[in-house]
Symmetry: D2
Subunit: 404 residues, 4 copies
């Protein structure tokens, strides 16, 4: 296939060539001074991305699934009660991971068309009859549905119930694309992966552990070895790791952080708001429905689009890939075949969004969805021109939107 592919799944995202180049280099001794300096520079900068001053950053050569495990085994003991909510594939899987590891998980079924509300957490906590929960698991941005949850309100709900439960937040598909404020919102532990907003290839799990999470790890936790963060935190103080770290990914992380800081984290969020709004306008122009039915919970990193009845999203996805080199996300588990997901997180710009929308339109039509070619693209273009969009971009109406 000629030309550049469009990897618009909701992660992994397109790795910028600057990041690729930063990793295209000789491995260095992970016990030497150059490496120590690299790590000592990285850790506080990653914490800035989590917006945490109190938290400690922990990095593993692993994946988002590994990040879940690290979060759980460091802070909870086998048999501990965990409260979780099923409002999408990944929130359910996070709970399943906890069950697999031997925790006592209560999974509350909810709609997959909304985020998790503080009130839902409050209600469940009020109704609790058993042992107190030791942790509440939250997926900030449900990658399977495109709905964001209000972490601050959830914290308030937990606090209101005088619960001692740790608030553990998965930001795999939001961090560095959607605003997330660990300290301000009161999360105790936040986890993510490298391959989404951080613009790296997959292969790294990143956690930010607040004081209560670290304390829980000190006094308890599960039997653990690879994911035990105690030796890591100890060695990291001098810039090292107790195991062989993924050296080249760390060089890539350095470059990715530099890129985020150069653009400015708030500008990154504004850009994703602008791009996401354009995608949603396009869906409207196609007269299709967005899976998330709460406008206030729309995700700025991905949009799940519902298929008309009787048509399978897998066909749209297949056509997009085979004919146009465009990768879209499938519908997972209970919404398999019912939605396709457009990823718009990580390194991305306006023209890439237009290309993606244009490709989706052609795939939709080829699959038999009666849409008007160009209608979504036009709506997105209009959105890029609108005053609201300009305001979101923080630029005066007279000034070009993209002049960042």
């Amino acid at each position: 296939m000629s030309g550049r592919p469009f990897l618009q799944i909701p992660g992994p995202t397109n790795v910028p060539e600057r990041v690729l180049r930063a990793m295209d280099r000789a491995v260095i001794d992970h016990r030497g001074p150059e490496f120590g300096q690299l790590v000592q520079g990285l850790l506080p900068d990653v914490a800035k991305i989590f917006k945490s001053e109190r938290g400690k950053v922990v990095l593993y050569p692993s994946s988002g699934t590994g990040a879940w495990e690290a979060a759980l085994v460091n802070t909870l003991a086998p048999g501990d009660r965990i409260l979780a909510f099923n409002y999408g594939h990944f929130s359910a899987q996070f709970a399943e991971a906890a069950r697999n590891l031997g925790f006592d998980v209560e999974l509350v079924p909810l709609s997959w068309r909304r985020g998790l509300a503080g009130e839902q957490v409050a209600e469940r906590l009020r109704g609790n009859r058993g042992q107190p929960f030791k942790a509440v698991l939250v997926v900030h941005n449900e990658t399977s549905t495109g709905a964001v949850s209000d972490v601050k309100a959830i914290r308030a709900a937990i606090d209101a119930g005088h619960h001692e439960a740790l608030l553990i937040v998965d930001t795999v598909s939001s961090l560095a694309s959607i605003d997330y404020r660990m300290d301000e919102w009161g999360a105790d532990l936040t986890l993510t992966g490298s391959q989404k907003g951080l613009m790296l290839p997959p292969g790294m799990a990143l956690l930010c552990a607040g004081p209560r999470a670290i304390a829980a790890g000190e006094r308890g936790g599960s039997p653990r070895n690879f994911f035990d963060w105690r030796p890591i935190l100890k060695d990291n103080a001098a810039g090292f790791f107790p195991y062989t770290p993924a050296t080249l990914l760390l060089f890539g992380l350095r470059e990715a952080l530099d890129m985020l800081f150069e653009e400015g984290l708030e500008h990154v969020f504004t850009r994703h708001t602008r791009l996401a709004e354009a995608v949603r306008k396009a869906v409207g122009a196609w007269e299709l429905e967005i899976l998330c039915e709460d406008q206030g919970a729309y995700s700025n990193s991905l949009t799940a689009v519902m298929m008309p009845d009787g048509l399978d999203s897998a066909e749209v996805i297949r056509i997009a890939r085979e004919r146009f080199g465009l990768d879209l996300g499938v519908g997972l588990s209970q919404i398999k075949g019912r939605v396709f997901r457009i990823g718009h997180l990580g390194a991305l710009n306006e023209l890439e969004v237009l290309a993606t929308l244009g490709g989706v339109e052609m795939a939709l039509r080829e699959a038999g969805v009666p849409i008007t070619l160009g209608s979504g693209v036009a709506a997105a273009q209009e959105s890029f021109f609108g005053d609201a969009s300009r305001a979101l971009a923080g630029v005066p109406v007279e000034q070009p939107i993209a002049a960042r």
Copy 2:
């Protein structure tokens, strides 16, 4: 600027990552056996791109301008008469290069909105009163105007006049994107650069010299050293160069040729026909005029679009670059400010074309051109779906267009 840039000038083109990677390697000894094998494999494969079995390929670390000089100084003596036609910036500059080198150039002024017709050459040859011309210079695809000339008809015109003139053809912006047949059409010497259809970075001049050109070089030519192809042809027989070649570009060329052959040269041409047709449909939808007024001469590697009166194309180009990371080609010399050029040669696919058109639309509207956003994109999408387009792609109507 986040995301990937869109370099849609009519060359240099976007270098595929496969080609970049092939050049990201250790330099080797250009006198050693590995290098010799590389070169011996390259030369016949480059000749296939020129569609020449009789010609000899000559490579220089240089540019298209250097390719002009190599063509001229090897085959012509100072004072030799050359016939050239001014039907665009580059045809005029090629003539100017010849003048600078001391040749006696007759430059026939023509319209910049058409290619060069065989009849125009015939007419001028019939009217010649002076010394016979030793060479006729032709730019196959005028990069400044987007018009293709009929090389076969020009050859016939020269032959009809019983002229001994060498037919020297510049294929800088056509080779490997638009069909060109050196042997069949009767060109004596063809030249190009690396940075267009060959998908390489700039830095290499490539020539294919037919038997008459080589013979002319053997018996005459100008005082020359760097561009003298005689020692090159001699050393190339064993796979070497008389000077230090641009080693890494040659590794890149190997990869680029492999990519062209994998796709199939005829499929490459079909793809560019399909992409170019879509761009032209978009221009029509915008109700703007294509500079080239001869539909039969439309270029499949670039399209020059005329601005409405009173509006400067430089403004469109500036907005496209600054706001959308989209690089377009300017209008050159006599059409400065009057046109902008969309490059659609080299490594390129449908979605990249849609992104480009979407960006052009936004830049046009921002510059005050009253177009309907999305209209060009929609026309391009329709074009990708049309039966004619399918036929051009050589696929049955039932089969996906892009399934190549």
Copy 3:
């Protein structure tokens, strides 16, 4: 520092530029067909490196430490008895990892100057009074001491005791540099990391699980999630992973395997024998002692060299790094300061060995060790020329050694 660094720790090793380039590319959808084909091609080829036809390969984005954990939690239940032997830092740490995960580990202290002998295993098994052991942990090549253990003899010892224990072998610093034959020698489970003989950057754990290990995992094991190989084996059948894999490392693995097969696995082992023998000759010329006192157990992937009394190896290592850009391995735990380790595994050739030895000599002398500069280099050169070396290289005496 100008020029190329010499990373001669016993891993990570120097990543060949071919491998780096293979990873310097766009990430692809790990649910798409291109990825599926990549994985389906990789798995049997990795099994060839383990020399196993019966085993199933399992890959994790992780490290060697993660590979230990994967091996243990999939096959053993909490409280299961494990037999391990302390004959170096990593054999002790492997046991410690098992303890941390809640297994009942018996760790037999042995000399750090030898490998583990079959008889030592037999003796301990004969003397067992408690519950039967469920697993025996073996480090094939002790990275901290440079001694190889006889896995085949260990298997025989286990079998002789009619024990049902699984034989779990760590080949982190041997696989793909030193011959290892999983099926023939009867290992049930073998694990390694990406960053040694496989010539990749760190970030991947690789296991090969034989039928008994897989059966143990099916019927039992520990609570587990990330490292649970059951869903991986299930999804791998179609070329996929239940989590996001380290896509780019897998492309690197493809290239590394290609390189190993191009050279020929047996030739790779012969090369390391030749290089290791030269290093040992150099140590002899320096009149220093090799830590491993059993010549039959000399490691062909690293050599641990003992310091003269009263001198600290850390000083040699510091000088080598700071003055000559040469990274050597430190002495770990009980031999800290007493040895330095020269890594000679992975991608390596004769001249790199000479450079390394030359650098070690200068660092030794600067640190006050009374050696003759050039003596070790000369001994290595002689070794490269010797007939025995030629025979090892599988080439006739008349033929150049390195003509591979």
Copy 4:
């Protein structure tokens, strides 16, 4: 062949991975502002490498041979008399290039075992009977012989003769490895290529034209087009080129200059003095002769070593390449087979020199030269340790040599 190759020909040199990575990137529009800034930053920095404040830098996508041509055709008219001296292959070839271009060249035959002395130039100028010479051609560091010429003395000789001749200096294999001072020594025009001390791949010609050279070009010169520096100097003022430049090489040049400035140009020269001295000590230890018989003219970027009578250097070179992946330079024209050349310019460090010498020793012995293995390596190591060497490195005796 496993491991890293040793490209120790006297150029092209090993391109550092930092430089390779800087070129592994998207091509940008060479008419856009980003490119303009790149060029405007590059030109004065290249001038610093030439040590010229008065000169103008001119860059071509070409080779060293092209740099010769650019120097000649811009400043001299056909038929102009040129004085040149044959003291090596490249000084002779430079003269030959001038002859091919139609100049009237007087080539004075000299010994190939020395550099060009000021007195030799003075003598020839005094004896001149014909038209005055318009230019004197000098190769600063003869790449074929390893002898440096005294440019300052040559300038004095020209001045003493009240000659108006331009002093044109080839620094292809010296610039950025051996000290060269264009303004202070009075050269009018200096030229070089990218692939030696500048650590880039081949493909770029670099000139620094002083005021008298530029003036000569303004008022005269030869018919010229590609190499005409007038339009380049004009466009360069705004950061552009009249032709398509080798964009990626310019990004590489930026990185290479940064590396040179980071190390410090004087430290670069000191490093090459130290490395060259070690190589010469090794040749002494082998009891072989250095081609250059004037110790004061020893080149610090390469050493040509004479073979014992009856033995062919081509055999040594073949063995080094085939057996050890070591590329050495051949003997050219009149010294073909008589010498081999060790390149030690560009990016290089002590251990790479030891590896090279170790490889040369093995190749020499295999070729039948009766040397003691390790003797040259030991001599080089001793040289790295000597106080004189420390002083050259500008470090106190107590301090590590390589701590730069």
